[in-house]
Amino acid sequence: MAKKLGKKARKFAKKNLPSVMKRQRKLNSMFKKKSAPRRSKVSNKVFLEESNKSKNVQQTHGDLEGMILDEAFYNNDLGDLFHQDDYDLDEDVSVSDGYISEDPECPYISEIEDEICSEEKSDDVPILLQNREIYQEIAKQKRKLDKLCVKDPQFSKFLESQRSDLHKSKSEEIYSDEEGDANSADDDGIGESETSLSGKVLTSSTLDVWCWMVMEQPNCSTLSSLLYGFRAACHFGVDSDEVSQQKIANREVFSKLLTFVLQEAHGIFSRLLGISGSMNKKNMLKTTKKSEWKSVRPLIKSYLRSSLFLLNQEMDNQILMFVISQLRLSIMFFAAFPSLAKRLIKRSIHLWATGDENLSACSFFIIRDIASKCSSDYLDICLMRTYQAFIANCKFMDSANLKHIKFLMHSIVEIYSLDIQKSSQKVLISVQQLASILRQALKTKKKEELKKIHSWQYVNCISVWVEFVSCNFKNYDLQPLLVLIIEIIRGIAHLFSGPRYLPLRFKCVKILNRLSLSSGVFIPIASLLFDCLEHRGNINADRTQRTHVDLSSLLKVPKQLLKSRDFHEESILTAIQLLSEHFSQWSYHISFPELATIPLILLKRFHENTTLESVRRTVKRLMDQAQQKSDFIQRKRDEVLFSPKDQSSVDGFLELEKDRSSPFGRFYASMRHDGLQSPRT
């Protein structure tokens, strides 16, 4: 219920809680000034709109530059990146351009009004109960008042005069309040020139007729009536004070109206414009030049605007998903209305970042569509805002949102991979920003600086770009980016040494392994893992007290676990797993024996000294396998004739063997299997 209430409830509270109202009024006073002239003059409005538009353009440009040059880059705060353009879209909201006028001669308005249903009793919503209580209270108070009036007839006269005064001031209050709301919400053009339908109630039969007519013959006038009704439905409950609003008879009508329009609108518009099949940029450009466009444009706009409004108001996942997936069809229409498109981006990014699994996926699709199908400006916005939303939403990580964050990460990679030329610059900037944060921390070693790095936010940001690089390294030359990221990760590992930070260390190694695998460069990681072989936990700890240590959801080991046997075991097993991952990548390289030399010597020593039986077995297995592989390579390379400098021959060494399954390959596969079963790192 709480969720459902959401925005409505907030608005509701605004109206009823005086303190909130006061604050609201203060805030709105700014809007009031701005909007006062707009209400009166249409020409003025156009002017304003123009100026606003140009301002937006300027702002976006400024933001980009700002991102590169100014504080966002030096400020070293992740959140600050892309920060400034927040205003951008907020202001868009108040921009209203164009409107459709309701055709007053719209026929076929059913006169049957008996359908206005009485309150459905079946729903036992708390708000209804409350309503009933209030109603009783009113009755009580009314009686009291009546008594007073009867007692003192002069009072009623006095009351009358007072009431008129009160009314005046109150209406002013409401007016100003409403105005603010209307501004920040949606100041649709439809309502203004429209009077004829006001107060009329849309009934089910009328709707049926309209729907039928629209489907049969996409007549503009019927369609506009329908869209007007759609608008009313979308705004239902929000601007209910407006007299001009069309009334909706009951919930069936409401539901049907919304479903029908959302489902069919795109098809209808396409038919009107004579578009067939899928749309793309070129298609759209052609369409806008058609003569029909002029007449259909306001309708499309009204439709998009209303659905956007619904999208902003609605809290329910199912409805949101439905609206988004339907809007996705008409994505090309959005391209014609930049301000609407921006609002769509803003809202869908919000839903993408915060929604549940399915909603998030739907939102991602629409974002990706906007980014890929519409003009490149939108791509820029999407690139910035998705990363920004990601930064804001990846501060915490636990087993619950692991999947979601992974999804967000992947979506970002998808969106950034749309246009590598464009995005690689942005990625480089973000990575450099991350690097400068690290630099600062390395220089000062202050606690708060270190904390910035030692956070999920930082780790996740790095992970996103690692993913990006490893996905695109094959196709593009991302060498500088790769090197910078590797240095950052090594820097993190260097900055946080010591057993408490082992989980972070493992994460770094894992990332390095990933980068190495995808890019084919050699990244030595063995030395990063030697530490944990020497870390000594309290071996004699009580065995009965087993706590499951999940290193993947930790960055720093809690103190009480630090000495525990489980943590010790877990960390060594993870290290073994990472090491075998490293080995398996180079297991066919001619230099594998040398690669394994030092780790094997150290593992052997560890194996001799440790008392942890379970770990011992795994270590032994790795040692045996690596030794076997090493001997195998050694035998093979004794047969070859080329020298180390002959790089092409080296690359061709054992090329044929790679595809075959080998003992070490099987060993690594089993290690990974184990690793997956008990989630490590």
């Binding site: 459905e120 108070q141 002069q154 539901s255 609605e314 063995a526 040398e594 030399t597 390379r637």
Partner: protein, 834 residues
């Protein structure tokens, strides 16, 4: 006041006993100072009976006594006084503490003003005798000073009466006025006043030190204040004054005989000035040294001491300053330690100021300090030795002038010196005349300048050196003894003591720096010692933590090599053991635990700079270093590769490692197969191996490493004759620094101007990471029925809310109407009244 005195005194306090006659020994005073809590008995004194006694004595006569009481009481109640100063009570009769019925003491609260008052009365009563009075006041807190002050005053009065009469009168007037006003002042204003007074005196002193030298006393008195802030300010102003007025020479007080001689007025005046200065200086130092123990003021005191040591190391009482500074050199307080170390360093580096004596003293003191604490100190205390400079030219210039005494030279320079002597002897004959004139001139110069005799300087230097080395050897010895230190580590908590031997690292640094000055006699022992230390840890031994860290052991190897090299390989010591150590230590190295610079330095001193005669060993190191760079970070790898390259350049035969030659094994001699896990480089059989590592290192992510690997692997084809051609200039140390993480991150990122696209990809359709079908599935999850229901719910909810809003408005309306009734009634009443 002594405890004994007090216990007996109160009941029969004889009023006629002059304060001067009360014997207060220094020990007593110290005792009271140390055992503040004992002074608590004061609070338990039967104050009533004391009161009686005092009153019987007639308190108006004996303000001295009253002052004495005040002084006593002030001590235990130092802290309380601060608060109580706010409430001022003026009545002089109430000045003594009064015991209330419940046994609490009520102190009179106008401490400061009261004493001022007392002074005042006294002054007016005794006139010129005010000096005497001051002495009385002083004596209570600093009796040992009193005698001296008195003595000086007697002379001073005779000498300075004429000049200072006006001054005294002025001062008296001043203090009278001050004292009167003070009574009404709150503590803050008092503080301000005192500050102003401090500034006034300070200015006077700076303007004309000769005439106002007596003001030092007053400054010193201010430092006895119970307000710590005032004390601090006083100390600082005294510091400024002393730094300014202390002359550039050492003051020697006249002996008894000299005193008796009649001297001119100017001389007398000068003597008075000097003696006063010296006395006050001494008093000041004593005060600093005592205050240094108080935690709240110690920083200021130490700062003053250090500044004095820095500014006037030539002046009297240097020894005591030095002693107290050295004592603080390994303080656990970072600021104090830094200050002291800085002061000592400045002593070492500005020897011109004191002619080297202070250096010797300081080094000796530090040596004693280290000895006393059994080497459990902060490493900073030894690091100061690094600032020592030993001028080797002293011996040379000396030999020109005094060719006859080469034997007195330091042992380590004797050979060099005598050689030059013979050469210079012949040249001299030719220009004897010239020489003589020059000698005369230089003799004159010597007489004029303060520079001590060269001989003395030399002596001093050798003494200094031996004291420093004594310290170093002591530390080494201490580190060799495993049982000695471990037990004490816990007792001495050091802020950054690394491991169990906090001083070892800096000791080794020092030995490395001064290795060329080490006496040949010690060298054998030293190397033996280093060898033991370097090879100390045997990892099969269970208790690893007991031993030296990898960095320390590497440092031992480095020092051994430096010692050997700087002494021209005079000693035929086999350094093989150190090579073995290094070979094995490479495996022990951990990038974040151990210091990478030390490793790079070890590579530089031991492999890069030295000559490798043993091919087997060189090959073993080449192989190990190459393997090493496969496991470690880019900086370490680069340092190792630079060394590898260098070794390959110098040892042409080792270049066989670069070729996969079937016959390579024949060179290996005894060991035909490479054994990577051998602990001795000589038997590893590395010559039989091939440097396959390079082929993997070429793929290294770091471009410098990969290009270095590529360049090494191409060396095989180099003509063996061209061995010396391609010497890379960068040392391993340099290479390490260049590629360290900090450096790498600071490198400006090259802007990828345009991305070369390697492969074309259908942008619009492809998904890079995600499985599109999986995600699309979620889109189809929308269920019509649910949707319809949700829409309906949505409608209902909104409707409900709308209804609610409407009802609430109505309710509010009704309620306001009812509340209006009150207004209405009021209005009606008013109308009626009218």
């Amino acid at each position: 006041m002594g405890k004994k005195n007090k216990v007996i005194l109160p009941p029969n306090l004889p009023p006629e006993v002059a304060d001067d006659e009360i014997e207060v020994s220094d020990e007593d005073l110290e005792f009271v100072g140390r055992n503040r809590e004992y002074v608590g008995f004061l609070t338990k004194l039967d104050t009533k009976s004391i009161d009686r006694h005092v009153k019987r004595v007639a308190n108006h006569e004996d303000d001295e006594l009253e002052a004495l009481y005040e002084k006593r009481n002030r001590k235990p109640s130092l802290l309380r006084l601060k608060e109580e100063e706010d409430k001022l009570q003026v009545d002089p009769v109430d000045a003594l503490p009064v015991k209330t019925l419940d046994g609490k003491l009520e102190y009179r609260t106008a401490d400061r003003s009261k004493s001022g008052d007392g002074t005042n009365e006294n002054e007016s009563a005794m006139g010129i005798e005010d000096d005497e009075k001051n002495a009385g006041m002083l004596k209570l807190t600093k009796p040992e000073k009193r005698l001296k002050l008195k003595k000086s005053r007697k002379e001073a009065k005779k000498l300075a009466k004429v000049e200072e009469k006006g001054d005294i009168g002025e001062e008296k007037l001043h203090s009278e006025v001050l004292a009167k006003v003070e009574e009404d002042l709150s503590a803050e204003e008092l503080f301000r006043k005192k500050k102003i007074r401090l500034a006034e005196i300070g200015l006077q002193l700076l303007e004309n030190p000769e005439e106002n030298i007596k003001a030092l006393k007053e400054l010193l008195q201010i430092c006895d204040d119970e307000d710590q802030n005032i004390v601090k300010l006083g100390l600082m102003s005294l510091l400024a004054v002393f730094k300014d007025i202390i002359p550039g020479y050492r003051i020697r007080l006249p002996t008894e005989k000299e005193m008796e001689m009649t001297v001119s007025k100017a001389v007398r005046q000068q003597r008075f000035y000097e003696s006063t200065l010296l006395r006050s200086y001494k008093a000041y130092l004593m005060k600093l040294i005592t205050l240094e123990k108080q935690p709240s003021i110690c920083q200021v005191a130490v700062r003053c001491l250090c500044s004095l040591l820095d500014a006037v190391p030539h002046f009297n009482f240097r020894e005591s300053i030095l002693a107290s500074v050295v004592k603080n050199i390994s303080s656990s307080d970072d600021t104090i330690r830094k200050l002291c170390c800085e002061a000592i360093r400045s002593i070492f580096s500005n020897e011109g100021k004191h002619g080297g004596e202070a250096t010797l003293e300081a080094v000796r003191l530090i040596a004693d300090h280290v000895k006393f604490h059994d080497c459990q100190l902060h490493p900073d205390s030894i690091d100061v030795f690094l600032s020592l400079t030993f001028d080797e030219d002293i011996g040379k210039s000396d030999s020109l002038e005094e060719p006859v005494k080469p034997k007195k030279r330091g042992k380590w320079k004797s050979q060099v010196g005598s050689k030059e002597v013979q050469g210079s002897d012949r040249k001299k004959n030719k220009q004897e005349v010239m020489k003589k004139t020059r000698e005369e001139v230089s003799a004159d110069l010597k007489a004029v300048s303060f520079a001590p005799d060269l001989k003395d300087r030399k002596m001093m230097q050798s003494e200094t050196l031996s004291a420093a080395f004594e310290t170093y050897f002591r530390i080494l010895k201490n580190s060799m003894d495993p049982s000695a230190s471990r037990s004490k580590v816990n007792a001495v908590s050091l802020s950054c003591g690394s491991g169990s031997y906090p001083l070892l690292a800096s000791c080794l640094n020092g030995l490395g720096k001064f290795s060329h000055l080490i006496d040949l006699d010690f060298m054998g022992d030293l190397l033996e010692c280093l060898k033991k230390l370097a090879g100390y840890s045997d990892h099969n031994d269970g208790s690893m933590q007991n031993h030296l860290s990898v960095s320390e052991r590497l440092q031992c190897c480095i020092v051994a090599f430096m010692v050997m090299r700087n002494n021209l390989d005079a000693l035929n010591v086999d350094l093989q053991d150190f090579f073995v150590q290094l070979y094995n230590l490479l495996l022990e190295y951990r990038p974040d635990r151990d210091c990478g610079e030390v490793l790079a330095k070890a590579l530089k001193t031991m492999l890069w700079e030295g000559k490798q005669h043993d091919m087997q060993r060189a090959a073993a190191f080449i192989k190990r270093l190459a393997t090493f760079s496969l496991s470690f970070g880019s900086a370490e790898a680069m340092a190792a590769l630079v060394t590898v390259k260098h070794l390959l350049q110098k040892n042409s035969k080792c270049r066989n490692l670069l070729e996969n030659d079937a016959g390579g094994g024949s060179l290996a001699g005894l060991v035909a197969k490479y054994r990577p896990d051998a602990t001795d480089p000589n038997i590893s059989g590395a010559l039989a191996s091939v440097l396959w590592e390079l082929s993997l290192l070429v793929k290294h992510y770091n471009s410098s490493v990969s290009s270095m690997a590529a360049s090494i692997s191409s060396m095989g084809s180099m003509n063996p004759a061209h061995t010396q051609v391609l010497f890379s200039t960068a040392s391993p140390l340099q290479a390490f620094a260049d590629l360290s993480i900090e450096q790498e991150l600071f490198k400006p990122a090259s802007k990828a101007a345009s991305l070369s696209r390697k492969r074309t990809r259908e942008i619009e359709k492809d998904f890079v990471v995600m499985d599109p079908d999986q995600i699309r599935k979620s889109e189809n999850m929308i269920d019509e029925d649910i949707l319809t229901r949700k829409f309906k719910d949505h409608f209902n909810l909104n409707k409900g809310i709308m209804e609610n809003e409407r009802l609430r408005r109505e309710l509010n309306h009704t309620m306001s109407s009812i509340s209006l009734y009150e207004d209405y009634k009021r209005q009606k009443k008013r109308k009626k009244e009218r």
